[in-house]
């Protein structure tokens, strides 16, 4: 993730290009060439459909018959749709809890894993495994952990004399239970990014700090943490966007259907688009989600001047 640092310095090819040619300009053209497959893919497969949904969101469309134009009616209706508002609230709760929690725990684990001990590669791999495991498989294991009858969690709290809980069907516990699983599942991605950030910190800076008499905490607070802010910024943006799109955890854990306590915005979109024959309504909801995510991302990006330090 040192690439993040250099990104701030500007794209060298770009600068060369503005001078109108030269070896750096050639580099820029090569860069474009290598980027082309992705750019074309994005333009055709993402940008096109994204724009199409904007048009669809202004219609009443059941997917099977021709859409009818209804202007902003979908958006007006969403504003007073209880289920949508609940989905928004649940998604907000999920984001507010899971993003900071996930980042804190993975930062802590990354610090712990940033050691040169025997078998460290295996330990790091173990933390990354959930990331490459399918959510379905993970959800199966967590269903067993949360099982109200013989679940691991209920057996554990039973040791302390706490009565068994219905983790997934109780309205108060269901969303926190889903958050816990998601945080655990997402740790690996964050840890990898933090680890890369940690290993990019020059040891001479740390040595210099030690010579100046800085203890462990002081070194972490004044050297490690500031130099890690680009990584924190990056994982933050990934987690934020990802958490607003939470779907599969809810889809699998909340069988047979999410309750009012667990429905999320993306599930709401799926349900309306593919179950209720309301594709126009669903795309309107997805645009509201997009606007929320875009605004938060913009605010987050603007904030980086104040707390992100690039080397």
């Amino acid at each position: 993730m040192t690439a993040l640092g250099s990104r701030r310095g500007g794209f060298p090819g770009r600068r060369g290009g503005s001078r109108g040619g030269g070896p750096l300009g050639g580099e820029g053209r090569w860069a474009l060439l290598f980027l082309a497959p992705t750019l074309v893919g994005l333009a055709v497969l993402s940008a096109g459909p994204v724009l199409a949904t904007l048009a669809i969101s202004l219609t009443k469309w059941d997917l099977l018959q021709a859409p009818q134009l209804v202007a902003l009616a979908n958006f007006v209706q969403l504003a007073s749709d209880d289920r949508f508002l609940k989905a928004l609230r649940n998604t907000a709760f999920y984001t507010v809890v899971s993003v900071p929690l996930g980042m804190l725990i993975s930062l802590f684990l990354a610090l712990a894993l940033n050691q040169t001990i025997r078998g460290i590669a295996w330990i790091r791999t173990a933390y990354f495994l959930p990331v490459v495991t399918s959510t379905i498989a993970i959800a199966l294991v967590w269903q067993w952990i949360y099982s109200p009858d013989s679940g691991l969690l209920n057996q554990f709290i039973g040791i302390f004399g706490i009565a068994p809980q219905k983790w997934l069907s109780n309205a108060t516990l269901a969303m926190p239970a889903i958050v816990a699983m998601s945080v655990w599942q997402g740790l690996g991605t964050n840890i990898i990014i933090f680890l890369a950030g940690l290993q990019a910190i020059p040891t001479d800076l740390l040595d210099a700090a030690s010579v100046d008499g800085a203890g462990r905490w002081a070194r972490f607070r004044n050297v490690v943490l500031p130099l890690l802010t680009p990584s924190i910024f990056f994982t933050g943006i990934l987690s934020l966007i990802g958490s607003f799109q939470v779907f599969d955890q809810v889809f699998v854990l909340s069988r047979p259907r999410p309750t009012e306590a667990t429905i999320t915005v993306v599930y709401f979109i799926y349900e309306n688009g593919f179950k209720f024959f309301k594709m126009g309504y669903a795309t309107a909801a997805s645009w509201i989600l997009f606007i929320i995510v875009a605004v938060l991302t913009a605010i987050y990006f603007r904030s980086q001047n104040r707390w992100v330090h690039y080397q």
């Binding site: 099977l64 498989a137 959800a139 099982s147 109200p148 997934l168 889809f251 047979p256 309750t259 209720f276």
Partner: protein, 462 residues
């Protein structure tokens, strides 16, 4: 939901995942198979063309003699588990033998993916020629003009609809035409574990049972075998998350109904309807003869696991229960205050309105409902055949209890089927699950009254 077929015998996620994985594997094997089987079939066909084929090809007018059109390839989409898929592929293979000019390609998906793919396929103008249709969802598709009216084909070929179960045929009939033929149907009955009944010296359920008798015997079979103060064997189990599994039957048995006759409002608010749902809540929370649904939400069917002595549920579970090693008895549902009633739900085979080979598609749909295909389907013990001849004859004697299921059609109500069904069911069931069945925070009447305006608004708007 999500899946209103989560009740289709696959409560446990494990099984659902197995089905998914198995389904995916079979998609590949089906694709591989279909590339080899047509060539094999056409080889035998060219070697020995059936005489009837040669004779009828002289007159191009369609007749019941068989398919006489040009060579055609049609696609057939179904949802299902690996056993069902294998079974349907066998039916298709048999179809190829009698109709060598038609090649049928089977594609399968799990329940949720099936509908997503179907809708996007239709939206993109590339839907399967023939596809499976769930009874309750039929109006949502038919009313949107994506299904082919089979009436002209039925009339031209002189096909007798009377050979198929009447309610099942009616589910695909509209005032303007016939938009599909039933392929199979499912009915709700009472399963019981003979070993558990014998151990408790309890009398086996029979057609004389009523609600009171059910509660009385269920109490006798609800026991705490390990002495931890909580029951670990229950007298009764059912699934609460869909009306089909049990509660719609209770509503009818109590003299209530789901929809008003014109279909524009719901009559669930009546005391009779609410009383039926109330009985189910009482089985869980008042009588405590049925486990809290949360206990088995993740681990699957309590009856299949030998933890409940009786289960009200669908005929699709027969093979599953037998495979689980349960000494299975099948009885009619216990009668309610207003008499006997149960629920049936047909699966139909429908044809895409824009198919390029409507004649070949009709030929295949007709074949799916034929005694040959229906006898094959029957071997699964997953559903009842829709063909009356097979239902009354081979099916009724095919296993112990099959006759009870076949006879239940006489007093069965069709599962409600209307435009906007998924929306209706989700609104209603979310409330019932949260506040009636999973937690008894409201009576059935209170819960229904709460969602009644939303349900009626939904129905009026369709």
């Amino acid at each position: 939901m999500l899946s209103d077929r989560t009740h289709r015998g696959a409560t446990s996620l494990q099984r659902r995942v197995l089905a998914l994985v198995g389904g995916a594997a079979l998609v590949f094997s089906a694709c591989g198979g279909s590339t080899t089987s047509p060539s094999g079939v056409s080889a035998t066909a060219s070697a020995a063309p059936p005489p009837s084929q040669a004779a009828s090809s002289a007159s191009p007018a369609p007749s019941d003699a068989g398919y006489t059109g040009p060579e055609a390839t049609i696609s057939y989409s179904i949802w299902g588990d690996p056993a069902e898929i294998k079974n349907q592929q066998a039916v298709v293979d048999a179809f190829h033998v009698v109709n060598p000019k038609i090649t049928v390609k089977v594609t399968v998906s799990d329940w949720d993916t099936y509908w997503d793919k179907l809708q996007t396929g239709i939206a993109g103008g590339d839907a399967p020629d023939v596809f499976a249709m769930d009874g309750p969802l039929f109006p949502d598709y038919q009313s949107r003009d994506v299904l082919l009216d089979l009436k002209p084909y039925i009339d031209r070929s002189g096909y007798d609809l009377g050979q198929l179960a009447d309610q099942a045929v009616a589910d695909f009939t509209t005032p303007t035409g016939q938009f599909g033929l039933p392929r199979d149907l499912n009915v709700i009955a009472l399963f019981y574990n003979k070993k558990m009944f014998d151990a408790a010296s309890a009398p086996y359920p029979d057609e004389t049972w009523d609600w009171a008798k059910l509660v009385q015997v269920a109490h006798k079979l609800t026991t705490d075998t390990n002495g931890d103060g909580k029951p670990d064997q229950w007298g009764f189990y059912t699934e609460t998350s869909d009306m089909e599994n049990y509660w719609s039957s209770l509503v009818w048995q109590n003299g209530g109904d789901i929809l008003a006759p014109d279909g524009k409002s719901t009559v669930l608010g009546t005391d009779q309807a609410a009383g039926g749902i109330q009985f189910l809540q009482d089985l869980i929370w008042k009588e405590k003869v049925m486990p809290d649904p949360a206990l088995f939400a993740e681990v699957g069917d309590a009856f299949e696991q030998g933890k409940a002595a009786m289960e009200a549920n669908g005929s699709w579970l027969v093979a599953t229960h037998q495979a689980a090693g349960i000494d299975l008895g099948i009885a009619p549902l216990p009668k309610g205050p207003a008499g006997q009633a149960t629920s049936i739900n047909p699966t139909g085979a429908v044809v895409y309105a824009k198919t390029k080979s409507p004649d070949a598609a009709w030929e295949f749909v007709k074949y799916l409902a034929s005694p040959a295909a229906q006898t094959k389907l029957m071997e699964l013990r997953a559903s009842l055949p829709a063909n009356k001849e097979v239902l009354a004859g081979p099916y009724a004697s095919s296993f112990d209890g099959a006759k009870v299921l076949a006879d239940a059609l006489a007093y069965a109500h069709i599962k409600p089927s209307f435009k906007g069904y998924n929306d209706f069911a989700t609104t209603l069931q979310t409330e019932l699950d949260a506040n009636v069945f999973n937690e008894p925070t409201e009576t059935a009447k209170q819960a229904i009254d709460k969602v009644l305006p939303a349900l009626n608004e939904l129905l009026a708007g369709q």
